[in-house]
């Protein structure tokens, strides 16, 4: 199966997909974890730790998803927009919450 994939995709495609999955997945895990940290109805330190604990799961899920779609562009767009949403949401909550 891997051989079949290899013949269909160039090294660059795979490198591009891996970079998208790992790097954007990492930024996504950070921003979604941050959103969680600010959105959870708990004190800040608990929220931050919960967000961090969950972020590894989110990173793994993001990597899996990014490899499951047919086009790297889909992965790129999907992750970028999720990052924007999470980071935007977190910033909104930060503004609403006043001092962190």
């Amino acid at each position: 199966m891997a051989t079949a994939k290899r013949s269909r995709h160039s090294r660059w495609t795979i490198a591009g997909r891996a970079a998208t999955a790992i790097l954007l997945g990492y930024v996504f895990a950070n921003s979604a974890g941050l959103l969680l940290a600010l959105a959870l109805p708990v004190d800040r330190i608990t929220g931050v730790l919960t967000g961090t604990i969950a972020s590894f799961l989110l990173w793994g899920a993001a990597i899996m998803w990014a490899f499951s779609v047919t086009k790297t562009r889909t992965a790129l767009l999907g992750l970028s927009s999720s990052i924007t949403l999470c980071a935007g949401g977190a910033y909104g909550l930060y503004l609403l919450g006043g001092t962190a």
């Binding site: 974890g33 961090t52 590894f56 899996m64």
Partner: protein, 535 residues
């Protein structure tokens, strides 16, 4: 689950696994041995007798007397009484005040409680089981924290490998009950599945908690920074939020209260043998603080009691500190850490940990072998790429050779001269030199032959461990079994078991090879591309 999704996950599983598989294997071998780090420590210090229980008051009095002699004016002392498996002897640690521009002076000792002096003769200089245990997250020979970072990334690959592995094997539980013996490639996959499914919860626990261990260092900076509005000052102050306001050195000398007296109060509350360690901040200062930490029972955040070190008065906890026990997130992380380390595990559970780690090791090893077997050229005359041969041979040296190198590490502990300078370092050098020799051997031999020869070598090395031990020390099986010293005997007996298993594997490989030769299928005998190694 549709087919395309599973296919892409199978692909991801294969590649996330194979990219880091040798480091993962190294991590699992050394980490699994790490569950018996203290037992290996004990074996590697044959001069020391078995753990001797002693009254806590006597131990603390001895340790305090010694520390007042050699580490007066320290910033902190730690005293570990002999209640724990990991602390067979009364031991101390101290750290002197930091002087600008100089290395911090610190030290540690194991004490004979009757003399309040270090043991004589001193134990040989050895890294013990701790060195192997530390390798599983730090590697070795790497500067600073680089090994830690590498292993953290490897752990993330492992986590992705686990998640995708569950998806990749759609009939995971059906596969669990399928084992096709001696079918070459297929058998390796079955064994890989068997080892994975049998210990899947353990593998998830150990990997996820492994990731959490890296939290403090570097993983998800934006969650922490952003959680506090990117306010660095606020984040620097977090330590106080965690621990509460700490006492500071006053500069006025007041003798430290006798710790043994405080211990009596503690034992009246907690019962006997509950004190994991005693921490003293600024001993001999008017603002000295003494903390008694209770033995953990499955949580990292165990109970502690604070005293004023000058007056001996019991204090309430520092104001503003976080109540770790009551906090659900810290509770979860704490449970994960403590599950990972298994410090609470008694003998039976410790063996369960060890065997789970072993199955994890088998899962990783068979995964690497399966990867090679699957890519083996099918027909005679198919060219084998140099890269295929390199991976195939490196597999031998990593999977079999590393085990042999660990055996050589045990040999080195017994055979290196006791007075050798930097002896502990040389034990480790011997281990890695031996591993290098296994690599050289694998490079020179065809892979199927290398497998058989290296497994045989591993078997002989481990079978000889008790013999080398018996020839060089009195801590041999004859004495240890007679004395019922099962910690000491356990290491020798495990070495024998390891040796027998390795020889068994070598024998099975040899038998399969001669069977294939007897069938004489030319199509399968493609020079270097010798076919599947069974069982």
């Amino acid at each position: 689950m549709n087919g395309a999704f599973r296919q892409s996950m199978t692909w991801l599983h294969t590649w996330s696994g194979i990219v880091v598989v040798w480091l993962l294997y190294f991590m699992f071998v050394t980490g699994t041995i790490g569950y018996f780090d203290d037992e290996v420590d004990r074996w590697m210090k044959p001069e020391q007798g078995p753990s001797a229980q002693m009254p806590i008051e006597a131990g603390l009095e001895a340790a305090q007397t010694r520390l007042e002699d050699i580490a007066a004016g320290a910033d902190r002392w730690f005293i570990y009484p002999t209640i724990k498996r990991s602390n067979p002897h009364l031991s101390t640690f101290w750290q002197m005040p930091t002087v600008e521009g100089e290395d911090v002076v610190r030290g540690d000792e194991e004490l004979d409680p009757t003399t309040a002096q270090p043991f004589t003769p001193a134990a040989r200089d050895t890294g013990g089981g701790q060195v192997l245990y530390r390798m599983h997250y730090l590697l070795h020979y790497l500067p600073g924290r680089s090994g830690y970072y590498i292993m953290a990334i490897v752990t993330m690959f492992m986590f992705v490998g686990l998640m995708t592995g569950v998806v990749a094997h759609k009939k995971i539980f059906k596969d669990f009950f399928t084992f096709r013996w001696a079918r070459g490639q297929r058998s390796w996959l079955d064994l890989h599945n068997l080892a994975s499914v049998a210990t899947l919860p353990f593998q998830f626990m150990i990997t996820y908690s492994g990731l959490l261990f890296t939290l403090a260092l570097f993983w998800m900076p934006f969650v922490v920074l952003g959680g506090y509005g990117f306010d660095i000052k606020r984040i620097s102050a977090l330590a106080i939020e965690f621990q509460g306001q700490q006492a500071e050195r006053s500069g006025d000398a007041v003798p430290l209260v006798r710790l043994a007296t405080l211990a009596q109060q503690i034992e009246a509350d907690w019962g006997p043998n509950q004190i994991a360690f005693v921490r003293v901040e600024y001993p001999g200062d008017a603002n000295a603080r003494v903390t008694f930490q209770r033995e953990t029972t499955g949580r990292t955040s165990a109970e502690s009691v604070l005293f004023d070190g000058a007056s001996g008065e019991r204090l309430t906890k520092p104001a503003g500190g976080l109540d770790f026990d009551a906090n659900p997130a810290f509770g979860f992380a704490g449970v994960m850490f403590s599950l990972h380390e298994g410090q609470f595990a008694d003998t039976v559970l410790r063996w369960v940990y060890f065997l789970s780690g072993l199955l994890g090791t088998i899962m990783i090893g068979t995964g690497a072998i399966y990867w090679v077997e699957k890519r083996r050229p099918r027909r005679a005359g198919d060219p084998t790429k140099w890269s295929f041969r390199a991976v195939e041979r490196a597999n031998v040296a990593v999977i079999a050779g590393l085990i042999g190198a660990v055996g050589v590490y045990l040999w080195a502990n017994r055979l290196l001269p006791v007075g050798l300078a930097e002896r502990a370092d040389w034990e480790v050098h011997c281990m890695f030199l031996a591993w290098l020799a296994f690599f050289a051997h694998a490079a020179l031999r065809r892979a199927p032959v290398a497998w058989i020869e290296q497994c045989t070598a591993v078997g002989l090395i481990f079978l000889a461990v008790p013999i080398v031990n018996g020839l060089t020390t009195s801590a041999h099986l004859g004495n240890s079994i007679a004395a019922g010293d099962w910690v000491l005997a356990g290491v020798d007996l495990t070495a024998i078991a390891t040796g027998l298993i390795a020889l068994g594997i070598a024998h099975a490989m040899r038998a399969r090879r001669s069977r294939l030769d007897a069938i004489d299928v030319p199509a399968l005998d493609g020079g270097d591309a010798q076919p599947q190694l069974g069982g």
